[in-house]
Symmetry: C2
Subunit: 125 residues, 2 copies
DNA sequence: ATTCGCAGGCTACAACTGTCAACTGTATTG
DNA sequence: CAATACAGTTGACAGTTGTAGCCTGCGAAT
């Protein structure tokens, strides 16, 4: 269900998704515009384009009220786990453990991270 | 040193890089072409374009012999660790452990993987 | 009711990507 | 030496991405 959709979210579009993911309910353009104009310095037109593209791609749903309200079709977790899997496929020959190994031996993780992960693996199973 | 370069390697270009990374020495176009024509079904022209672009981007070096020989400027490890860091920045708000947590709770890892990782963390430090 | 602001839809446009063809010069081969 | 083959260079062309303007109609404010 994600294979066709999520792969297509670009960097700029992702900023819009992040905002929608934060919001608990659907948002009108006004709200999206205000936030992204401030944080990203984008023109209203740019923001409208990004939203339209996300709707075309099927990852954002629009709900007609007085004005359209937008909400994400896929969750942030779905997306990030898809993106991670995609990285593993493309770069680590499908081997997830190679990704982690790479993180471990390249300053990708702080000591804190490592400690926390050790916990994580202890709890698991 | 990577920030400027590596980010720009596209999917198609990556296939060329993978080949160069596998080879122990620099390769002439002939060798690259043979392999990618067979495995990817690309036309010679396509392959030549990809190589040129990689050279322009500075991630592949050409060495003049009778004919140019090509070799990677960045190592596979450098690239993959950059790409991973990039993913973490863009999607996991810079928190590496969130990436791993996501992998752990989403079928990203097989039981084998988990076992192996547990080993990895035991050995570390 | 007239005006004003803006949501939505359409258009634009340069840079980047995925694919590839045509030309040009040099090296190999008969 | 003439013909062939192909590396290297340049151009091409459609689709995607980043960024943004214009126009039209509706709803809010005067």
């Amino acid at each position: 269900m994600l294979d066709n959709l999520a792969g297509k979210i670009t960097d700029s579009e992702l900023e819009v998704m992040k905002l929608l993911w934060c919001a608990k309910d659907a948002l009108p353009v006004t709200a999206i515009r205000e936030e992204l104009q401030r944080t990203k310095g984008w023109e209203p037109a740019t923001i409208k384009t990004l939203i339209s593209r996300l709707v075309s791609k099927g990852v954002v749903r629009q709900e007609k009220r007085n004005v359209y309200y937008y909400s994400p079709v896929i969750t942030e977790k779905e997306y990030s786990s898809w993106a991670t899997k995609d990285l593993i496929t493309r770069i680590y020959n499908g081997k997830a453990r190679d990704l982690i190994a790479s993180l471990v031996n390249s300053d990708g993780l702080s000591q804190d991270d490592i400690a926390e992960l050790r916990e994580l693996f202890k709890v698991e199973e």
